[in-house]
Subunit: 329 residues, 3 copies
């Protein structure tokens, strides 16, 4: 395929922590493109590396669909191509507009030709067909159906999956339940937050590179929310006193658990994996496996600051924290 | 504040594994004091260190309230003061009476001036106000409401939280549901058990000290129940054949999960986070994140010994075991 | 006891991943023997060690009973005896027939005299009696009742339990609920899969041996399904397009969690610990503690290959993967 258009296309495709509301009745057929390519990005103050990405950031874009929707998905492996994502005027998705206005990773095009693939946990398919690996320059296209509500990881499934995901190839699909959650009418703010680990060490020059031993021994260099060690402090989530905040939280791993907590709040509702059937109440903390998720809600008790945290404090100290800033009622 | 009275005050404040029954109708306004100060304590045979404590032990006192109660909480940072907690006649709480009768940690006053704070997971507040850090000699006082039933950790939230909690600053609040648990009439014994990790290495002299690298790499020296490697064997929980035993179990971390199991028993009921809505049945093992809890119940099948254990055996071998001794019917 | 008959006896006792259907009405009294003895086995290509086993394999046999059944259990410690399990014609259980036809571990009798014991998580008993340790040559026999439905680990409980289980002494009991699962009529395939860790390093000669430091620091050499790094690829589970597959999945540890996922599928039903009360729906991944289990079901969307995986990718790369091969409708 000779495609050199916008690398991310889709009406309901946004940059973290944003989730585009679904403004349609019934079901929809989505046409979504998510190209994979290399970008040099910052993931912590002074820490840059050549990430393998979906759409140029880590994690990749948030895809929002409804239970029952059909998705025609296309991906070109452009890892051998310089792809610029930060210039204004890029059409195709809210995601591209958002990144051009808010390039918090300081993304710079880079080349690292590599076979890649796509595995949507939100879809049910035979992986040897649709999740197959494609070479640089190749394009894959397939349909999948959002048969189950929930918040799902997507990621590259090419071996070493540990390396491909740790290098940045993961993101989230939110499949909103067709009959909604019981609290839909009362939700004031809705966000998506993703936890993930980096395994990096100083490389030649100023760039960091993949730490094989760290990855194999589960000793990450950074554990982060939305791909960057301080982004959710630099650009806090916002809400107001008395509001109900919903967060679709996904622990994209690749290897560790997360004990997700919000300092100062208690989760009024928790739906494990984001599925309305799996409801819990009154939780201080929700424990998530690698590629596990939860949709949580809490009510902001008063004006002030709230901290999102992996309460496994060794991981929190490696960066797994963020802020929600609450204004007055 | 010039306060030099009893460091722990409160009518429903006890030493682990005890939980004082709530003998009042409706709701209550509790006035609770929990000062923070340094104590040299034993945490395993031959292992003593200068712990940062709430109330002089690790974990700190158990606070028992009812859903809907109001708590006026006061804490003085007395880390720069020699505070004696083991002498008879200390008024203020059952906790102080219990420690004076049963000083199983061999607590000795010590000084290590340090800023500290208090974060009650059972409360919903803006942390930049009520969870704020206070210097040695300062006192903080604030109200919170027990809006959600459950078993909750409290802990110091001052950076490095990993270090402050690993040094000993954590405990448990049990918020009993206002409408009770379905099994309340059938429970014969009710206990509180807390799991936590120590990260210690030999220091100068005979005392142990904090092991920064162990803490950062999640390699604890000791994983314990109720703060001491052998306390729940030296002083087992007790019950009788046929009785229903309830344990409020909290995994206070700071970093690891717990796969809590009782050898010889099956959990007839499990309420995740201690909330009555989150009921599970027939569980051999309940998995808890860091700052996760569960209220579990089992029926003692026969006279004999039962072992409480983190079934993650590498952690069990570091001490995360205890005994329940069951007498005849 | 002078017993030198078949080391595994029982009508509903099979080799992983098989589960023998229960073809009786009401409850039954099972007489089950599971001797413990040493076998040199292969656990990965080129990796052999002298395993401590129940019944000669790792994990040991699958025991299937019904909620309410009584089990009279007998075990001889034959760790000081050469026991052959691979020869044809061994009577006593389907397990022995299956291993004689499919000796995928290349089991060879070996001797390592050692005290051992048996702890069935499916039973409720005082461990100081029935779970007691017996010396080589001794036999233990006791009754237990399957009072709670679910999928349970059994294991040796002799110290160091970390070592005894890591050396191979664990297996699974499936207790089918007396009123069944809601989906019983629709299940087409039913399997048992067990995850566990090995802590091995090169020993003298060609054999591997136990790695004490690896075990204590939670750094396994191999993380496997059904005891062998590639067995579930070499001998995939099978099903057909459109079928509902049920897997009783047990994470036998000894120390790590598992984030169990099937690539290409979503769990339509999950019963935590295998108990029908603990139902979840629409899960991409289920997180299990050490000695935690889940009964999961998914519908095979199309012909092709599906990968069972611990989505904690550092563990997946150590072997925690397997294949389900789906034929046409
Ligand atoms: Cu890739
Ligand atoms: Cu906390
Ligand atoms: Cu502190
Ligand atoms: Cu066990
Ligand atoms: Cu043994
Ligand atoms: Cu995956
Ligand atoms: Na999937
Ligand atoms: Na974590
Ligand atoms: Na809180
Ligand atoms: Na643990
Ligand atoms: Na048991
Ligand atoms: Na794992
Ligand atoms: Zn927004
Ligand atoms: Zn269409
Ligand atoms: Zn907190
Ligand atoms: Zn007591
Ligand atoms: Zn009052
Ligand atoms: Zn056990
Ligand atoms: Zn079979
Ligand atoms: Zn009988
Ligand atoms: Zn997958």
């Amino acid at each position: 395929e000779d495609y050199d258009g916008p690398p991310v296309v889709g009406e309901y495709v946004t940059m973290l922590p944003h989730l585009k509301p679904l403004d349609y009745e019934g079901n929809k057929h989505h046409e979504i493109r998510l190209d994979t390519f290399t970008q040099e990005i910052e993931v912590a103050d002074g820490v840059r590396f050549r990430a393998w990405t979906f759409g140029g950031m880590v994690p990749g874009p948030v895809i929002h669909v409804k239970e029952g929707d059909k998705i025609t998905f296309t991906m070109k492996n452009r890892s051998d191509e310089m792809v610029t994502i930060t210039k204004p005027g890029l059409e195709g998705s809210d995601y591209l507009k958002q990144i051009s206005e808010n390039d918090y990773m300081g993304a710079e095009p880079s080349i690292m030709p590599m076979p890649h693939s796509m595995d949507f946990h939100s879809g049910t398919v035979a992986k040897d067909d649709k999740w197959r690996t494609i070479a640089p320059g190749e394009t894959i296209s397939f349909d999948w159906y959002a048969n189950y509500a929930g918040t799902y990881i997507y990621h590259c499934g090419t071996p070493s999956v540990l390396m491909h995901t740790a290098m940045g190839q993961h993101g989230v699909v939110v499949v909103s339940p067709k009959d909604g959650y019981e609290t839909d009418d009362r939700v004031d703010e809705e966000y998506v937050v993703v936890q993930s680990e980096y395994y990096l060490k100083k490389g030649a020059g100023d760039l960091y590179q993949y730490d094989f031993e760290g990855a194999q021994t589960k000793q990450p260099s950074h554990v982060v929310f939305n791909g960057h060690q301080t982004i959710l402090h630099d650009q806090p989530l916002t809400a107001n006193e008395g509001e109900r905040v919903r967060i679709h939280f996904s622990n994209n791993g690749p290897s560790l658990t997360s004990s997700f907590h919000v300092i100062g709040a208690i989760f009024d509702r928790v739906w494990l994996e984001g599925h309305p059937y799996n409801e819990m109440r009154g939780m201080q903390t929700v424990l998530l496996g690698a590629s596990g998720s939860a949709t949580v809600e809490f009510i902001v008790p008063e004006e002030g600051k709230y901290t999102l945290i992996d309460h496994e404090f060794a991981d929190a100290e490696k960066g797994a924290t963020g802020t929600l800033k609450a204004g007055p009622r």
